[in-house]
């Protein structure tokens, strides 16, 4: 990895930076039993990392989910519960510079 002059990088780093690594000890578990597809969990998610299309399809992208619990708190049918962290957290990587992708960006 290389830090460029002026911290210049390729766009799309929000996706590359796996901020799910910030989670402490809990994450939402979508039970998919009583879900009515009201979409409140997705709207309440401060990270915008809850996706779903239709009943019992909603999920949180653990690569970015911070485990705040807003979704579980707003779910009107208690179909989301916070559970202890399982397995490893995503690796918090941060890419400023990729030699191959970046070479053509420099005018020097």
């Amino acid at each position: 990895m290389k830090l460029t002059i002026g911290a210049v990088g390729l766009p799309g780093t929000s996706r590359q930076n796996k901020t799910g690594s910030w989670r402490i000890n809990q994450r939402p578990n979508f039970l998919h039993i009583r879900c009515t597809a009201c979409d409140l969990c997705a709207l309440a998610c401060p990270d915008g990392c809850i996706y779903g299309n239709g009943r019992n399809t909603y999920y949180s992208d653990y690569e970015y989910c911070k485990g705040c619990g807003n979704c579980a708190a707003v779910c009107p049918v208690d179909d989301i519960e916070m559970e202890p962290e399982k397995g490893g957290l995503p690796q918090g990587v941060f890419v400023f510079y990729d030699e191959n992708e970046f070479r053509h960006m420099s005018t020097a």
Binding site: L3, G6, V8, P11, T13, N17, H104, M105, A108
Partner: protein, 419 residues
């Protein structure tokens, strides 16, 4: 090369025009306005091919030149006082993104109380922003430092914004003979800007992006190293300037009659001219007085300052600003340059010329008459003016060293705080 009678602002505007900025953006503020008004006229008449953008504030003006510079073109803005402070937030970003924006600060006091006249508190307050700061003594230097600023800022070892500081009114509104080089000479000195990276819709980039604790320190380290490189770049560029334009360019500092000087006056900007006159006068009386004019305040050329001062026994730092609660910021740098050296001189700090009060020969002689080591001695205080709660503004009341208030605290009045 043509020698012309010009207002300081006009000299700067003509120098900027000769550097062909693609985008000029500013918000008017006294005493800077003449510079951008002149440039606006040149753009309107077609004499200068540039995009002139009117902004709704200095914050916007700085943001616009940031964006323009990121697209890989030369830019210019200018401001003073409150305007510079409003730009401050953006200037840190311009430096962090390593964009070689050039701007002028026509130095003016900072409110409150409201004051439109000259001192250097505005630019001194932005010393930590990562912007190169160069101070002009006269109108010729104000114009010449523009060419230098562009070349140093755009040097790939540096890539930092650069600000040319000239004293409001004293230079900006005063008429002097200024040598304006031919376009050919300027082109020989200043190559076209070749950006390291540039914004391009075909190949998107993000600049100055989010850096977490794992990377931020290194980004700041790179800025500090770039500032250090700027010292070398200014030296080399000054040399090249002298070769092409055939006149002196003290890009770092200038020594005036310091060869055998035991007392050295050190300052920045127009007050140096007065200091030189005092030095001449005292030399005539056999006193060994010299002057050091610091041009490059940021980067601070520590080694060169020491080289210039090491023969002296007394150094008097004269500055038009103060880091309130401490001393003049320049004093702190000069003392630091002399620290841990053999036979270091005594370095005293004087605050003068605030809010447009003239720095006269008497002002500088008052500093020379000071026998004690002082940190922040205010010169020319009016002895007959009563300052509420402090009595007369007599200089005798100032502590020799800023050790903090020694006055007894007034007894708390009952009823005020409990009400």
């Amino acid at each position: 090369m043509a020698r012309r009678m010009l207002e300081g602002s006009q000299g700067v505007a003509q120098a900027v025009a000769l550097c062909h900025p693609a985008v000029i953006c500013a918000y008017p503020i006294t005493p800077q306005t003449h510079i951008v008004a002149e440039l606006a006229d040149m753009v309107a008449s077609g004499e200068l091919k540039a995009e002139y953008v009117n902004a709704e504030s200095e914050h916007s003006a700085a943001s616009i030149v940031l964006g323009a510079s990121a697209t890989g073109v030369r830019t210019f803005t200018s401001t003073s006082s409150q305007g510079l402070l409003l730009m401050g937030e953006v200037l840190f970003n311009i430096a962090g993104m390593r964009l070689p924006v050039v701007l002028t600060c026509v130095n003016r006091a900072v409110s409150a109380p409201l004051n439109i006249w000259n001192d250097q508190q505005d630019s001194l307050s932005l010393r930590d922003s990562g912007v190169i700061q160069l101070y002009a003594e006269n109108n010729q230097e104000a114009a010449d430092l523009i060419y230098l600023a562009y070349r140093v800022a755009e040097d790939h070892r540096v890539l930092l914004p650069a600000m040319v500081c000239l004293d409001g009114y004293i230079l900006s509104h005063a008429w002097e003979a200024v040598e304006i080089p031919t376009p050919k000479e300027v082109d020989a000195f200043l190559p076209p800007y070749s950006p390291l990276y540039k914004l391009d819709p075909e190949a998107p980039l993000t600049l100055g992006m989010y850096a977490n604790p794992e990377l931020y320190t290194e980004a700041r380290y790179m800025l500090q190293r770039a500032m250090e490189e700027a010292i070398t770049a200014i030296q080399e560029t000054s040399h090249s300037f002298e070769l092409i334009f055939s006149r002196p360019m003290p890009g770092i500092l200038e020594e005036y009659r310091t060869e055998d000087a035991t007392t050295v006056l050190l300052g920045m900007g127009s007050l140096v001219s007065v200091a030189k006159e005092v030095a001449d006068e005292l030399r005539g009386q056999g006193e060994k007085v010299g002057v050091v004019k610091l041009v490059s305040y940021r980067p601070f050329p520590k080694e060169m300052v020491w080289e210039a001062l090491k023969g002296a026994s007394d150094v008097l730092v004269l500055e038009k600003g103060i880091s309130l609660g401490s001393a003049g910021p320049l004093l702190l740098d000069v003392r630091s340059a002399c620290h841990h050296r053999p036979h270091q001189p005594r370095v005293s700090g004087f605050v003068c010329g605030l809010g447009g009060r003239d720095v006269t020969r008497q002002t500088i002689k008052a500093a020379l008459a000071e026998k004690e080591l002082v940190d922040a001695r205010f010169l020319d205080l009016k002895a007959d003016l009563e300052l509420e709660g402090m009595g007369q503004a007599s200089r005798d009341k100032q502590p020799a060293l800023a050790r903090g208030a020694r006055r007894k605290r007034a007894p708390r009045k009952e009823g005020i705080n409990s009400a």
